[in-house]
Symmetry: C2
Subunit: 334 residues, 2 copies
């Protein structure tokens, strides 16, 4: 086993006699030997906050070890179909925060929501009108949607990823005997920006709470429920990547979502399919109807807004010595 | 699957329309429903720092996901004999910081150092004079040590845990074909506070760098070496638990330890065993000799010092509204 960079040893500051008071600048200094300005900045903020956290709490050795064991537990329960760290990020509000920073929306644009840990890449592409559900116990729902730009013009050729739980409140990947994707599909918007599909009425469900994150919520006396929703991702070159979801009004967890994903503008009312609609779309009259218009913003407009908000926010935080490179802050003078 | 606490849903604040600016107080509020004041305080500082980190860096979605994948990687490589999260804590300076907070020392006491990820609980208890090494390639070393209190009085009956690498720079647990403990032992100090054993001259070695932490160090252009050392843990009821190590002066990594463990007072010179010592201890003349006096402090004195330093530090941090309960800060008024 050899050092990844034996030469670096000689160029280093003296890491000796480190104390509560001097360890932070010295750790930042030893982490500042690469040419990657962004990496150096991110690491310096990470180390500062990590150390400040320990200093402000006077973190005990037992708490430190409990934290490490918690992280090991999260890692051990992760699999191809379960990501406990996304779940952790979700329940700590980090996921919603990161989405808000990266995908700011003008008032006209559809707001984002949390991705969650259950998106997969094996959903079948289905044609307009097809069903994405195989659950015989779900309440049938027709969804008629359009995608427009902020001027109200249809956006064609958008790839739309859609997923929801089955009627028992579980995503397909949560079933050990999963044979293939269900309650998930990919669609492409037509020339009018439209797409329509058959699914089931979403139900509220608890996030997976048999692992470390569930235990944490229990310790915090928090419930683990999410209000009923359907997930959507909209993707087309030149347009801002939109991860969002639609939530059912009146759900008992509408105002206490365990992962903080609900926005008022994303709360919708379901309707019932009338005779004319049933005939037109080839579905039964009286089933649930979800009608929604999604509004995409261009990548250019989003990046401009994101940069503008970043500069304002950093100024407010007193971080005036930063500049944006590829939309990300780095120190003005390295 | 049921909620861990369905009743909590009704008592909750409205978690709706959360933004970059209001998500932190709302996350802290929802995390403040338990009766555990310490847990609430630790979680509030954790969430504040986590969110501030994302806000100050304007953390990108790609960086967020890279961070989550890094944590999963750390979890996946952990085993009964490998703890990648301790290693991560070590290279970020957190381990040394937590030890410094929890085990402050008066000037007379032996200073602490990092535990590292290689301590095990299966080391054999050996008698004075026995050998803890089975490595035929190591340079033999006799260690003659005493344990005293700060008044210079011997402390008998202290359990001493000792471990080091073999001559190739690997701990026994790093060998896939490990049959049992080697280069590690447990001893108990005699009536004079003494213990002596045969080991091998320690060598400098790279920390495990075939995992995520090694890749991080490489990205940061940091080397992964530790200077040659022997680990010790001292344990006796009524005395402060001392985790420390002795480092060899002149090691090429003496001032650039990858895990920040070296203190000047823990850097020692080896001597050679003379004829009289060889005869007295039944070893060969001319082998390496480590002589060291360790000074333990009482648990009472350490806790008093720790409380005093905590109060001073919190005052300096402007956290005057905290009180110590069981030596740990919690808000004065909940």
């Amino acid at each position: 086993m050899a050092s990844s960079n034996p030469a670096a040893a000689t160029a280093e500051p003296e890491l000796l006699d480190l104390t509560i008071d001097n360890i932070t600048p010295n750790t930042i200094r030893i982490n500042s030997q690469s040419d990657n300005a962004r990496l150096k900045y991110v690491m310096s903020r990470l180390v500062s906050h990590l150390h400040d956290f320990a200093r402000e709490t006077r973190l005990s050795t037992d708490e430190w070890m409990a934290g490490l064991m918690f992280l090991i537990g999260c890692g051990k329960i992760c699999s191809d179909v379960r990501n406990e760290f996304i779940l952790l990020s979700d329940v700590l509000g980090l996921s919603l925060l990161v989405d808000s920073i990266n995908h700011p929306k003008p008032p006209e644009g559809t707001e984002g929501s949390v991705l969650g840990p259950f998106h997969t890449h094996d959903a079948p592409t289905i044609a307009n009108g097809a069903s994405m559900s195989t659950d015989p116990n779900g309440e049938p729902m027709l969804a008629i949607c359009t995608v427009k730009d902020i001027q109200g013009r249809p956006v064609a050729g958008v790839k739309v990823d859609i997923w929801e739980t089955d009627s028992s409140g579980h995503y397909d990947v949560q079933h050990a005997d999963r044979e293939g994707p269900s309650e998930r599909c990919v669609m492409v918007t037509d020339e009018e920006g439209g797409f329509h599909f058959q699914g089931i009425k979403p139900v509220s469900y608890p996030i997976p709470h048999d692992g470390p994150v569930g235990k944490l919520l229990q310790m915090l006396n928090r419930h683990c429920w999410r209000p009923a929703h359907v997930h959507f991702i909209f993707e087309k070159e030149g347009w801002d990547h939109l991860i969002t979801a639609l939530y059912l009004r009146g759900d008992p967890y509408e105002k206490s979502d365990a992962v903080f994903g609900v926005k008022s503008t994303l709360v919708i009312d379901l309707d019932k399919v009338d005779a004319a609609t049933a005939k037109k779309y080839g579905v039964k009259e009286g089933i649930w109807l979800l009608k929604q218009e999604f509004v995409l913003t261009t990548q250019e407009a989003t990046e401009k807004l994101r940069d503008q908000l970043a500069i304002e926010a950093l100024k407010k935080l007193g971080l005036d010595n930063l500049k944006l490179v590829d939309h990300l802050p780095v120190p003005e003078v390295d």
